[in-house]
Symmetry: C2
Subunit: 370 residues, 2 copies
């Protein structure tokens, strides 16, 4: 049973939320995409105990434990819900499974007119385990750091729904895009509206920020990205609640892997933070986001190459300094400016040595202290 | 035995070479990366006859036949040597093989100090089959269209040499990059000097343009790209002959997949053409390359998404028009300006219907005729 959100403990570390909203902070906050995951031996033990990934993700108590594991090791400034972007198409009835070493698969991919016609916004009751996990994690955090909820972007979900699994060349969905754009637009509309309802339910359950992962936006051609990915991410954002049950503003983050060339388009998104991968020059990106016709500038999240964490801690330390220097000194005086949230440029690699993560988090805090 | 190049027939279609050198043309020239390859049934028959890919690539007569096959079907404005970028590390003794459905593999990848110390510029005699193929193709072309020679970039070759095969996350070579940059710099220096000797020998044998494929430059972080890919591509370019045995200028093309964000860095390269993938906006790219402190502006090559060719011919036609319009009307008056060479944004997909390629080539010529 979900406890009313008004009973949550007050937040003790709001550095991440302040940076998301473009407010000055005492240091650069840091968290890692996929920070609760396979690189942690305690996570692998928990997953083995659960049996498989979905058994873990659908059990709110276990999902809470997985979410909190990295916080026990590292002084991270945010927690992120332990879950998967594919819970939404799974709830649509496509039959999600995770084959060992093969990644996610759908038993019933959407490939034809009938499959598209049958799609609908899923009953959110089927996703209750996610909202229960959000409330449970928020309680367990007890105000330590804020909790980020998340979902896949409409385009990224469509990639899996149409391809049926991860793809090398996205041939099936791109053929649909070029040959039957009407069908793809219908899929994307349903995905966008589903994701909006899903994220709003996470906000109601206690998520203090939400993030849209456009993991595959970068495989699209210029022009197609704007039409088939960006426009539907915007459709999600426009439907999102601005405040949680506690009345606090809920920042919205959008991350497009491979989207560095489209920052000028992305700054029109109705969101607070843009995540960027490691190919992006943070100084250039900051310049592109600042001073944009009176609108509150977005903050930047990123962007250390995850593979940097395989180097010795001294190199990790140097690369953290390089990344902080690339962004430059954050604005301290303006009420709202482009602030930096330190992160990797993509999810942490499963073979990463955890002690190198410790070195990274420590270095971010040390070198960014104003 | 290689015939002296002075005996080659005069060139009858120089549209591609003119566009490479920034000179006005009557229409936009077009060719396709990997145009001689598996999407053609006649190629598959030839490969079956040869037994395997390397047997085909190392036989100059068969390589000539493979190179000319797409020209029999389509009115392409250039031919490209049928070969593979991995011939160079193979000649270094790393033991190249192509496993069915698995892609290339090296039996002896370079992983440690001893492996790096043992590397050297290969004896070009081991690559004689490539130069013999170039001369044979040039003779067979009989002046119909120009012949492009090519090589992999030092970084891209290093990826395969260190990883031992294609990689998903480039973890082995990136760990080397961050942990032992000295070793990687040595590999890249040897690769750059090997590629320069190799391309110069192709030019001597009759190649009328040369192209460096930086297929994996885009996996590097900003900063690392400039240091570990771009600098060594430049090292290749600086060593290249400017003219063939016939005294004609030999244009140099550089293609970095995923390099769209770095065009401002790439315009400093000592080359004539920059190839771009489908994520790039051609209008923006053209603007970035034009008017660069007095230097002759580079031309642009690209950039249709190869998967567009899976759409019906009417859509292919529309996408060709869109791509031509994105570049805009080419400059007709300046002696040297940024011209457009139509191509895909990456190699053609092996499942592409050949009749859609015909529609594409036809549309490029029709809509671009001045």
């Amino acid at each position: 049973m979900t406890e009313p959100t008004s009973s949550f403990a007050p937040l003790r570390n709001d550095t991440f939320l302040r940076a998301c909203l473009g407010q000055p902070t005492d240091y650069t906050p840091v968290w890692l995409m996929r920070q609760a995951g396979r690189y942690l031996p305690e996570y692998r033990a928990l997953r083995a105990q659960a049996g498989n990934f979905m058994a873990l993700a659908t059990n709110p108590a276990l999902a809470t434990e997985a979410t909190l594991q990295p916080l026990e090791r590292f002084a991270l400034d945010a927690a992120i819900l332990f879950s998967d972007i594919l819970t939404v198409p799974d709830a649509m009835g496509l039959g999600l499974s995770f084959q060992q070493g093969e990644g996610p698969q759908f038993a019933r991919p959407v490939r034809d007119e009938a499959g598209v016609a049958a799609l609908a916004i899923p009953d959110m009751d089927k996703l209750r385990y996610v909202f229960d996990a959000v409330a449970s994690i928020r309680r367990a955090l007890a105000g330590r750091v804020p909790l980020i909820g998340f979902a896949g972007s409409p385009w990224t979900l469509a990639c899996y729904m149409v391809e049926g699994a991860a793809s090398k060349d996205y041939r099936t969905i791109k053929t649909l895009l070029y040959a039957r754009p009407d069908l793809l637009h219908r899929i994307l509309t349903i995905n966008a509206d589903s994701v909006a309802v899903y994220l709003n339910a996470q906000i109601d359950a206690g998520a203090q920020a939400v993030m849209v992962f456009d993991s595959w936006g970068g495989v699209l051609a210029d022009g197609a990205f704007q039409t088939f990915s960006l426009a539907y991410t915007q459709r999600v954002l426009q439907q999102l609640k601005r405040h949680g049950a506690d009345g606090k503003e809920v920042p919205r983050i959008v991350f497009t892997k491979g989207g560095g060339q489209w920052l000028r388009d992305m700054r029109a998104l109705d969101c607070d933070v843009l995540g960027v991968d490691w190919t992006v020059n943070l100084a250039t990106a900051r310049e592109q986001l600042s001073g944009h016709d009176g609108q509150r500038p977005q903050s930047l999240q990123g962007n250390l190459d995850p593979i940097t964490l395989f180097a010795p801690p001294a190199t990790v330390d140097a690369e953290v300094q390089r990344t902080l220097a690339a962004f430059g000194a954050p604005e301290q005086n303006a009420a709202h400016s482009c602030q930096h949230i330190f992160n990797l440029g993509h999810g942490i690699n499963q073979h990463t040595p955890p002690e190198h993560v410790a070195a990274m988090v420590e270095a971010v805090h040390r070198y960014s202290r104003r």
